[in-house]
């Protein structure tokens, strides 16, 4: 297009360049990526680039997905396994929140907690926590409690750290304001520091939600029992790869449910936090 730039009545309108890929809506972008992924997968298995024992075809996986889904819906043994894992995750999360929150407040609010407790917590946090699994099994046996313990153990630390960080989040001026209003230490903690720290704490909870799932499944891998993790291990040892894939997909639903429950709670409780600060998915 040519402008007759001499004509003062001609507008100099132009269009900003936005790539087609970036202007796609989310649903289309997600679908496109999914189709591309499954397509590549199908091609890789159909042309025999990978052995079906290592990577089953999408069709095989879908068949198992259907089979496992049917078992779950008809209340079969897989449903009871999923229920066991759900209980492990639930209690692990509850214990992690109680212990993590208490320790976090001690570290964030008291000088003693910061000086005495924090160094030990940091030291334990740097250890590979899964390595404690045999200990939990030795102490608590092969039942659900050793898995709950490992799940809780892994999920506690992000909650401690985020709670303590949250308590530091109130600004100097806000603290001065509360002091000048004659607020007691307890009032300042409950009415200023804890509410101000809530966004931090929810970030910790989301990390913990992922950790508690990993802890529960690792516990079931190592300690056997009747959970979903044990099912996955059995299928894997039978080289039933499509079944493993299917089980993992259903398991991820449990993780998503937990994660989005936390996100939903965050939106309800920390209603003043802007959407872009909490993120669409985070």
């Amino acid at each position: 297009m040519t402008y007759s730039s001499d004509d003062p009545l001609t507008d100099t309108v132009w269009v900003e360049n936005v790539s087609v890929i970036d202007s796609m809506p989310r649903w289309l972008a997600m679908t496109l990526l999914f189709v591309g992924f499954v397509g590549t997968w199908e091609i890789a298995t159909r042309f025999g680039w990978v052995s079906p024992i290592i990577l089953p075809s999408p069709g095989e996986t879908l068949k198992d997905l259907y089979f496992v889904g049917q078992n779950l819906l008809s209340g079969g043994y897989m449903l009871s396994a999923l229920w066991t894992t759900t209980q492990t995750v639930f209690w692990g999360f509850v214990i992690a929140i109680s212990i993590g929150f208490t320790l976090g407040v001690l570290v964030g609010e008291t000088k003693f907690g910061e000086r005495a407790l924090l160094p030990y917590l940091v030291a334990i946090d740097t250890m590979p926590k899964v390595a404690f699994a045999p200990l939990f099994i030795a102490w608590l046996g092969f039942g659900i409690s050793s898995k709950v313990a490992l799940a809780a153990f892994i999920a506690t630390f992000p909650i401690v750290v985020s709670t303590a960080a949250g308590l530091y989040a109130a600004s100097e001026n806000e603290r001065m304001l509360f002091k000048s209003m004659g607020a007691t230490r307890m009032q300042t903690l409950l009415r200023l520091k804890l509410p101000t720290g809530l966004p931090h704490m929810f970030t910790g909870l989301k990390i913990a939600a992922v950790g508690v799932m990993a802890g529960a499944i690792t516990g079931e891998f190592l300690g056997g029992g009747t959970g979903f993790g044990a099912l996955i291990r059995q299928s894997a040892s039978q080289m039933n790869t499509p079944r493993v894939f299917a089980l993992i997909l259903y398991l991820s639903l449990l993780g998503l449910l937990l994660y989005f429950s936390v996100l939903w709670l965050q939106r309800r409780i920390v209603f003043w936090q802007k959407e872009n600060q909490s993120g669409t998915f985070g």
Binding site: S171, N173, E174, M176, L177, F178, K179, S180, M181, G182, A183, Q187, R191, L192, P195, F271, W272, K274
Partner: protein, 270 residues
């Protein structure tokens, strides 16, 4: 420049009773032996607006913290309404650079917060009528049930003014209250503050970095210098009240600003 003695003030303005009296005030920080303030003497009279100006490190923040009861003095006498200031008091109102409104409380809940902290929820609820009157005073009458996230910077500071006034304090301590706002809003808010102080007959003490703000707002300005923090001169501003923004263009205003800048520049070059 006319350096008015207190008795001169009686010509244009009636001499009022002293509200806040500071004598021989010194502050030395124990941790590093830093002398933050030395021999500060200051009297705020009823209805007076006094500012303190100085470069950073001149001790004006320390002075404000001592005056608000957030920090004990090392030496000297600090008296508000005839009683020594030994901690935070209900008759001291404070305002900061940030509005520091709690985002999970509505505007009106924020305003009655000082009452809620001291006397509990019931007393806070009982003060809603008064809070609403204050909101109308600062022009936020329709914003009582709005959350602070929806207020602009200037509106948030108006709400902070209401929160400061709800306990009917004897003195207002203002710590650079509008310095985070853009200049146009800031000028406007200063005129609003003057009107509010006039209507509530407030005694106010302002810490500021802005020369023109100090001159346009104050009856007197304390010029402070650092190392050690001290008051080097007290400048009386005889511009008539109510002040208007176009007074900035007057000769008198220019003279006062030039004089204070001269005082501060000597320090900056030293």
């Amino acid at each position: 420049m006319k350096m008015a003695e207190p008795q001169d003030m009686s010509i244009s303005k009636q001499v009022h009773r002293p509200v806040y009296e500071i004598a021989r005030l010194s502050k030395t920080y124990a941790s590093n032996k830093l002398v933050a303030l030395t021999d500060v003497n200051l009297t705020l009279h009823d209805g007076e607006f006094v500012s303190v100006i100085g470069s950073s490190g001149c001790g004006k923040s320390t002075l404000l913290k001592i005056m608000s009861g957030l920090m004990p003095p090392t030496k000297g006498r600090v008296m508000l309404e005839g009683k020594p200031v030994t901690g935070p008091r209900v008759d001291i109102g404070m305002m900061f650079q940030q509005a520091t409104l709690l985002p999970w409380k509505t505007t009106i809940e924020n305003i009655v917060q000082p009452i809620e902290i001291r006397e509990g929820k019931a007393a806070a609820k009982a003060a809603y009528g008064k809070a609403q009157d204050l909101l109308s005073l600062v022009g936020l009458g329709d914003f009582a049930n709005v959350y602070p996230g929806e207020l602009s910077g200037g509106m948030a500071q108006r709400a902070a003014i209401c929160r400061m006034l709800i306990t009917e304090p004897a003195v207002l301590l203002l710590d650079e209250p509008f310095s985070a706002l853009d200049e146009l809003t800031r000028d406007f808010m200063n005129m609003e503050l003057q009107r509010i102080c006039n209507e509530t007959k407030a005694t106010a003490f302002l810490v500021t970095h802005s020369l023109s703000e100090a001159v346009i707002m104050s009856d007197r300005i304390l010029v402070m210098k650092p190392r050690p923090g001290r008051v080097v001169e007290e400048v009386t501003i005889s511009l008539p009240r109510p002040r208007t923004l176009d007074m900035i263009n007057t000769e008198e205003f220019g003279r006062i600003v030039a004089h204070i800048r001269d005082l501060l520049d000597k320090e900056a070059m030293a």
